[in-house]
């Protein structure tokens, strides 16, 4: 029997949700019938709106999908202006202030405290510069990920930007693919870095070459069924298909139609295509794709470039991100800036857009490591650009502990999370920077912090994985983390080994300090990466690598932040919440 969500989707889904949202925007929050909240909130996701958690009723998170994280300075400025005008909540965040934008691991942008009454005005502003919230969430083609510097990167096989633009235009707002059994995440990689992180996507185009009729053709190998969610992480499986660039749209259409038709609509937990690949095996996926969905003979897979991949690969000989100054193929430079936990104050977003404009940049890029790239900086301008004041906050040469951290939204807004995340990760980073010696040779060290067993911060693919839990300390329940080690992508992708459970949040920095000291002492030399160091050790050795302990680090969020209406309010109790509110932010009577 189809699920409740499937029935809601059968009634109203896809493009038509926009008209309903505009109606609710006109009539106000109270016009959404109380007994239909679940159905409407599920549908709103398709247009990029998630209702925030308990205690924050009537407020929404809005996600703006930017293909491959690529934007113009004008678009970035608009995001900052929209954040300032519409994404300011009742209480400031102590680290980030009143208005900010979150850059996500799927190269999108998230704004919080959005009121349904403002939706039309926000869409008007975003769409006037070519930005959209369409299919940013929901059961459809999500934001396509890949390297934002495609076409500029001197280190690439194929410029995939035209391909991704075509995919985006073909599959956004397309009724044939608007109602899939579950989300559909696509990565297109043309660089030699592996920056698309295709391994963790439903559909991955990986750069490859193939000898066809005596000629070497550049294109993609096609992998299907990756994903981190639930307790069932999978790397995308090789279905033995080589795809020419001109066939990418046909192959993508075929595979997403295959998913639409054969995916499980009776159990949402089993709906992602990774489970269909488990059930069928890659051979059957290929056969059904060939027989039912494409009208040309699919070539077998070509030679990939995986041995060159370094993006989030944990290599000692290459940085695993885009931070720093890199050559463009046109002789200019792109500069990657570190944005700790991906959150940038709205005023800084606007400043960055202005600076990019001043230097003649046509491209801003958001990366899957929650950082930002400014493209097109000429050699003669580079020193002046690097001297800009804003770059002292968002540095192209940050301290290693301020560089590699990813954090999900956490209990600040999310209904699922059981711990505070972003502010804590900022505090961890600062404490580590100020107190822990960096092992010689380490330039970037990836800590991914997720608030629950969902995988929004991609915790399974980090040097150190932190995943929210609870523990008891001095008789009280406190926020804590399970700790995993040694995950990453690259030539041989590997999920983390989980080595500690329920480390109290205030003892995590002490654990990391101890761990890094052990690593530096016991490693074969600076050429042995942390990831290799972990993979060379068995379970017992990993468990014994380090101990958690209290240090000078202080954690203001140790209590149960999910029980607050907002963790940083003066009065955090649910009763103190102003929500729900009307379009002006005035409290409305609540039925709760």
């Amino acid at each position: 029997m189809p699920t409740k969500v499937e029935r809601w989707k059968d009634e109203t889904y896809g493009m038509e949700i926009r008209d309903h949202l505009l109606r609710f925007a006109e009539e106000g929050w109270d016009a959404i019938p109380d007994d239909e909240h679940d159905a409407w909130f599920e549908r709103f996701k398709w247009w990029g709106l998630y209702h925030q958690r308990k205690g924050q009723e009537s407020y929404f998170m809005m996600r703006i999908g930017t293909p491959m994280g690529r934007m113009t300075p004008e678009q970035l400025r608009t995001v900052g202006e929209v954040a300032n005008e519409y994404a300011t909540g009742p209480v400031d965040n102590p680290e980030f202030g009143g208005a900010y934008a979150d850059f996500t691991t799927r190269q999108s942008i998230q704004l919080h405290w959005i009121k349904v009454e403002d939706i039309e005005d926000i869409w008007d502003e975003l769409e006037s510069v070519g930005l959209s919230t369409i299919q940013a969430c929901g059961d459809s083609w999500r934001n396509i990920v890949g390297s934002p510097v495609a076409g500029r990167d001197a280190d690439e096989l194929i410029d995939v930007w035209p391909i991704v633009q075509n995919l985006h235009e073909t599959f956004k707002g397309n009724d044939l693919y608007s109602n899939l059994p579950r989300k559909w995440k696509v990565a297109v990689t043309g660089d030699r870095r592996g920056a698309g992180q295709g391994d963790i996507n439903d559909l991955a185009f990986e750069p490859a070459t193939k000898d066809i009729d005596g000629a070497e053709v550049e294109g993609f190998n096609v992998n299907v069924g990756g994903g981190l969610a639930r307790k069932e992480p999978r790397f995308a499986r090789d279905i033995d298909v080589f795809c020419r660039p001109e066939n990418a749209t046909d192959v993508a259409a075929g595979l997403s139609a295959l998913f639409r038709d054969y995916g499980d609509r009776e159990d949402r937990f089993n709906a992602r295509i990774k489970f269909l690949v488990d059930e069928w095996g890659p051979e059957k996926v290929r056969a059904v794709l060939q027989d039912e969905y494409v009208d040309y003979e699919l070539p077998s897979a070509g030679e990939g470039l995986r041995d060159e991949y370094d993006y989030n690969a944990g290599r000692a000989d290459a940085a695993g991100d885009y931070i720093g100054v890199y050559d463009q193929s046109d002789g200019q430079n792109f500069v990657g800036l570190s944005v700790l936990v991906g959150r940038m104050a709205a005023d800084d977003v606007i400043d960055l857009a202005d600076i990019a404009d001043d230097y003649g940049s046509d491209m801003i890029g958001l990366t899957q490591r929650q950082n930002v790239i400014v493209g097109d900086i000429a050699d003669e301008d580079l020193d002046a650009f690097l001297d800009e004041d804003l770059l002292s906050e968002y540095s192209p040469d940050p301290h290693p502990f301020m560089r590699g951290s990813i954090a999900c939204t956490g209990t600040e807004y999310c209904s699922l999370s059981i711990v505070e995340t972003k502010n804590r990760m900022v505090r961890y980073g600062r404490w580590l920077r100020d107190n822990v010696p960096v092992p010689e040779g380490v330039e970037d060290f990836h800590i991914h912090l997720s608030g629950c067993t969902a995988s929004c911060a991609q915790p399974q693919i980090a040097d150190i994985s932190l995943r929210g839990m609870k523990t008891r300390k001095d008789g009280d329940a406190v926020e804590a983390f399970d700790v995993g080690l040694g995950g990453g992508l690259g030539e041989n992708p590997q999920f983390a080994d989980w080595v500690k459970m329920r480390v109290p949040a205030d003892e995590v920095p002490g654990y990391i300090a101890d761990l890094l000291e052990t690593y530096e002492t016991e490693r074969a030399g600076p050429e042995e990466s942390f990831r290799d160091f972990v993979s060379d050790r068995d379970e017992d050795e990993l468990a014994a690598l380090a101990e958690s302990e209290e240090t000078s680090y202080e954690d203001p969020y140790l209590g149960n932040t999910k029980m607050t209406w907002y963790p940083y309010a003066e009065d955090t109790s649910m009763d103190a919440s102003p929500a729900p509110t009307d379009g002006q932010g005035n409290s409305l009577p609540s039925d709760d």
């Binding site: 029997m1 639930r230 008891r472 989980w498 329920r502 990993l542």
Partner: protein
């Protein structure tokens, strides 16, 4: 080491309980998660899931345990828990 078997998020019934595992010749204590689940659609039974932290256990492999209860069985369990809770509460009130 193995990942958790059960997912844990804000909808989990208990994310922090004291648990123990006992067998012939072994007994170990560990923190545990306990969750009550029903299917989203037309549920026909109640699942009660229990997992002890596998990093704390040597005597058993990483795993979770699950029992399924009919509605009547779930109510029986609930009423026994209520009665037991009343007795514990009474003791606490006396001390």
């Amino acid at each position: 080491m193995a990942d958790r078997v059960l997912k844990v998020n804000a909808f989990t019934t208990f994310d922090l309980l004291d648990g123990s595992v006992e067998g012939h010749g072994f007994e170990e204590a560990a923190f545990a998660t306990l969750n009550v689940r029903t299917a989203r659609e037309a549920p026909e039974e109640v699942s009660l899931e229990l997992e002890l932290d596998n990093t704390e256990l040597e005597s058993v492999p990483p795993h979770a345990d699950r029992v399924t209860l009919s509605a009547a069985e779930a109510r029986t369990l609930a009423s026994e828990l209520e009665a037991a809770a009343d007795r514990v509460a009474a003791t606490e009130a006396d001390t």
